[in-house]
């Protein structure tokens, strides 16, 4: 004689453990993203594009046998015609008898698929934009029409046919239940059935930002350096885009003179010759005065260079950069110096990072990048925030 009873606890017993598991996945994603941000495949991707991030550490490792020809598995196939050497599909790959999931290597994978937008959340949530001054006009008011519920009255084009029909059918069913309606009879729409979509004006505020990406494309900027610069700019763009609704981008490439170019040209264009940084800064100032009035735009400027500048340009450059800095929320200077070029013919004292030392302050920061692994730390140094330096 067995006992039967209603199961008592209504508590969701695995809730705590599910939360811990989720935290682990998210932590792994956060740790994983930093390793992949410099990967070619995600650079230059659109925000909606999905990317796969291999997430480590959620696996429960055990001693297991490798999946190779020493490790024979056995399957059954009653009624099927099989022969030696025949290929067995991976599709319905079976777990061998007695195995719990996860006992075998390679069964588990935790590639988490996320969009770049989600990635930005993981990457940037702990970072802060330097909130230096609230721009009076930085919020532009715009009105949008937005759906908002239903009304029983409205204009014909806004009639919600599906909803109205559903209401009619409901009424019909209940009439039938009450014995008030016979299936053969006509059952017309009633005014009460009709529902109209309601539309409301919604006021929204938009915040604007413009980013000036300036890059040295002179002969000394090798492909490798450009790649580092590009990765760095990519992060900057996504970060700022994540924080503002409207982001304008201005790409300024320069050697001895500045060129305003599009994104594609910016990263692909190569030039020979010397370097005059002042040209780009001057161009930026000009564009600001023409198109991005500082009172209504949050301005960010980032400059990537390998630090070589013509000595006789230094003074002018310093002067102009100082002016530009005053207009910017943040001016970041990123010096790229790939490892193998440590010993250079230039005098280290003459690099731009040295020249710029005098400008250092709340809205002027200098970072250095030698290799892809440096990009994230450099980025964090720029935006500090909760992650610290």
């Amino acid at each position: 004689m067995s006992i039967f009873k209603e199961h008592k606890t209504s508590a969701d017993r695995s809730a705590t453990d599910r939360r811990r598991h989720k935290e682990k996945i998210e932590k792994a994603i956060r740790e994983g993203v930093h390793n992949i941000i410099a990967e070619e495949s995600i650079i230059g991707q659109e925000g909606k594009k999905k990317i796969r991030i291999p997430v480590k550490g959620i696996k429960e490792y055990r001693f297991v046998y490798g999946d190779n020809n020493q490790n024979k598995k056995v399957g059954s196939a009653p009624g099927k015609n099989i022969k030696r050497g025949q290929q067995v599909g991976d599709k319905d790959e079976p777990a061998a008898a007695g195995n719990k999931p996860g006992d075998e290597a390679g069964v588990e994978y935790y590639d988490v698929e996320i969009t770049l937008e989600e990635l930005a959340v993981y990457l940037f949530n702990d970072l802060e934009l330097p909130d230096l001054e609230k721009k009076a006009m930085s919020k532009i008011i715009s009105e949008k029409m937005k759906r908002s519920g239903y009304r029983s009255q409205g204009i014909r084009p806004r009639l919600d046919k599906k909803n109205s029909l559903r209401r009619k059918l409901k009424r019909k069913a209940s009439a039938k239940r009450m014995g008030l309606h016979d299936e053969d009879d006509r059952f017309p729409f009633h005014d009460d059935d009709l529902k109209y979509k309601h539309i409301k004006n919604q006021v929204s505020e938009t915040s604007n930002a413009v980013i000036f990406f300036m890059m040295d494309i002179s002969g000394s900027m090798t492909k490798e350096k450009k790649y580092l610069a590009r990765s760095f700019f990519f992060l900057l763009y996504h970060f700022i885009n994540h924080k503002y609704e409207n982001v304008d981008l201005v790409f300024l490439a320069h050697d001895v003179q500045a060129y305003e170019v599009n994104e594609d040209q910016f990263f692909k264009r190569g030039h020979g010759g010397g370097t005059m940084v002042s040209s780009a800064v001057e161009a930026a100032l000009e564009i600001i005065s023409k198109r991005y009035f500082p009172d209504s735009w949050n301005i960010y400027a980032f400059h990537c260079s390998d630090g070589d500048n013509w000595p006789n340009d230094t003074e002018k450059c310093l002067d102009l950069t100082n002016k530009l800095r005053d207009l910017c929320q943040l001016y970041g200077y990123c010096e790229i110096e790939p490892n193998e070029e440590r010993i250079r013919w230039t005098d280290p004292d003459s690099t731009l990072s040295n020249t710029y030392q005098t400008l250092l302050g709340k809205n002027f920061k200098i970072v250095k990048i030698e290799k892809t692994e440096d990009i994230w730390p450099a980025f964090k140094r720029l935006f500090g925030g909760k992650l610290g330096v």
């Binding site: 004689m1 067995s2 006992i3 039967f4 009873k5 209603e6 199961h7 606890t9 969701d12 017993r13 695995s14 705590t16 453990d17 599910r18 939360r19 811990r20 598991h21 989720k22 935290e23 696996k59 429960e60 490792y61 055990r62 001693f63 297991v64 046998y65 490798g66 999946d67 190779n68 020809n69 020493q70 490790n71 024979k72 598995k73 056995v74 399957g75 059954s76 196939a77 099927k80 099989i82 022969k83 030696r84 050497g85 025949q86 290929q87 067995v88 599909g89 319905d92 790959e93 079976p94 777990a95 061998a96 008898a97 007695g98 195995n99 999931p101 006992d103 075998e104 290597a105 390679g106």
Partner: protein
């Protein structure tokens, strides 16, 4: 609303139990708890134990089961019964009456197996639930202890779980280090052959120790009391579950054999009988390209009954485990009927190595045995402690190489527990290998 009532369940239970007693089945009293599917997979994630300590891995298991359920496996007649006295079993509220009857028959088979199979002799079913609850409370107290906290507890649990199967596999009382030393002291004293001339009585361990968890808990120099306790909790749990791992095929086969037999003798009304047959066929269908333990176990018990009579089935359920069961009873004819084949991963694809013809079936039987019970778990033992506290563990290579990327991670975990350097010695592609 369910289409059945508790009274109906009780009526069918009476019929089932009296039928089962006619066959001399001998099981623990069963307590059925009726729950919904969400609670069901909740319990499944904790191996059915009513109380179990918390660890994120069970949350992961839940998510996976839940996902499978949503992917359309919901038709499966989930059954869940634990080896305790009384046996606790769960019935899903959503299931129709015939399925409840089927699961109740199935549970009688499991409970009988728990109570009578020799492997379970030391599992102490009467106190199982209490022990798990105590373990839960202790771990909870460590989590809540401000000087310990959840991450430290998780570190130890993560590490202990990685070697949880590496403990005593046999229901023999293991000698403590001290007792073992006595044994060897006697041997050295009465050494007439000279075999023990160079025997070092101070060496730890004195003989290869396969109980990694127990060894580390006993000999690590760095563990605090609560950490030892956590390791022992994991060890106790594994020892409780090892008999079930050893007898998965037999246990499911036995329960399926009996649900089929009892159901057919219950005089089910036609409206229950046909869906029952459908569910039964679904449960014991062969998994093409894999082994369904329900199918293999059910087929084997049918064959044994045909060949040697029901008495022999009872004998096997008492004395065998999956490995010995297959070794003794799986014949060439069975291999052919099941159309068993062996396969493995070659360079770029999985191909069939052998099929169950006259030449192949013995090899396949041997390969099958290698994949049942505890044979999927590599044998690892503590070899010695090198000067400086280096723990040397060895893999007893029997033809299959370890997956090194995994072994590497496990060694990290072992180091967490041991507190000093850990070395693993194995063989890879015929060459000695050290991690």
């Amino acid at each position: 609303m369910s289409e059945w009532s508790f009274e109906e369940l009780a009526v069918w239970d009476d019929k089932i139990t009296s039928k089962a007693k006619e066959y001399d089945l001998d099981w623990f009293p069963i307590m059925y708890e009726v729950c919904d599917y969400y609670e069901m997979i909740g319990h499944m994630s904790y191996h059915g134990m009513p109380s179990h300590y918390q660890h994120w891995s069970y949350g992961k298991t839940f998510e996976r089961t839940h996902q499978l359920y949503n992917m359309g496996m919901e038709g499966l007649p989930y059954e869940l019964i634990i080896n305790s006295d009384p046996s606790i079993a769960y019935l899903m509220r959503e299931n129709p009456l015939y399925l409840q009857i089927l699961i109740m028959c199935h549970c009688v088979g499991h409970s009988d197996f728990f109570k009578n199979n020799r492997m379970f002799a030391d599992t102490r079913p009467e106190s199982a639930c209490i022990r798990f609850r105590s373990a839960r409370k202790r771990i909870q107290s460590y989590i809540e202890d401000p000087s310990i906290g959840v991450s430290k507890v998780e570190d130890i649990l993560d590490a202990a779980h990685s070697i949880k199967f590496h403990t005593d596999w046999y229901p023999l009382k293991k000698l403590t280090h001290k007792e073992l030393k006595e044994v060897y002291l006697e041997k050295v004293k009465n050494d007439e052959t000279g075999d023990y001339e160079d025997f070092d009585l101070d060496e730890i361990p004195l003989e290869p120790d396969y109980d990694l968890l127990g060894f580390i808990a006993e000999h690590s120099r760095h563990l605090s009391e609560w950490q030892r306790d956590v390791i022992n909790i994991v060890k106790d749990e594994t020892q409780y579950f090892i008999p079930q791992m050893k007898t998965k095929i037999m246990n499911e086969g036995w329960a399926s054999y009996w649900h089929y037999r009892l159901m057919n003798e219950l005089d089910l009304p036609q409206k229950h009988h046909i869906p029952f047959l459908k569910s039964h066929n679904q449960v014991i269908r062969p998994h093409i390209g894999g082994i369904n333990p329900y199918h293999l176990g059910f087929t084997m018990f049918k064959k044994i009954e045909e060949r040697y009579g029901l008495e022999r089935c009872f004998f096997a359920r008492e004395t065998s485990h999956d490995e010995s069961f297959l070794r003794e009873y799986l014949t060439e004819e069975d291999c052919q009927e099941l159309n068993l084949f062996s396969f493995s991963k070659k360079r770029d694809a999985r191909t069939i190595d052998d099929i169950s013809d006259e030449d192949g079936w013995k090899k396949i039987k041997a390969d099958l045995i290698k994949t049942v019970g505890l044979n999927t778990i590599p044998k690892i033992y503590v070899d010695l402690i090198e000067p400086g506290g280096v723990l040397v563990i060895k893999h007893e290579h029997e033809g299959r190489d370890l997956e090194l990327s995994y072994a590497d991670e496990v060694c990290q975990h072992v180091m967490t527990l041991w507190g000093d350097v850990v070395k693993l010695i194995t063989i890879v592609e015929g060459e000695p290998w050290e991690i």
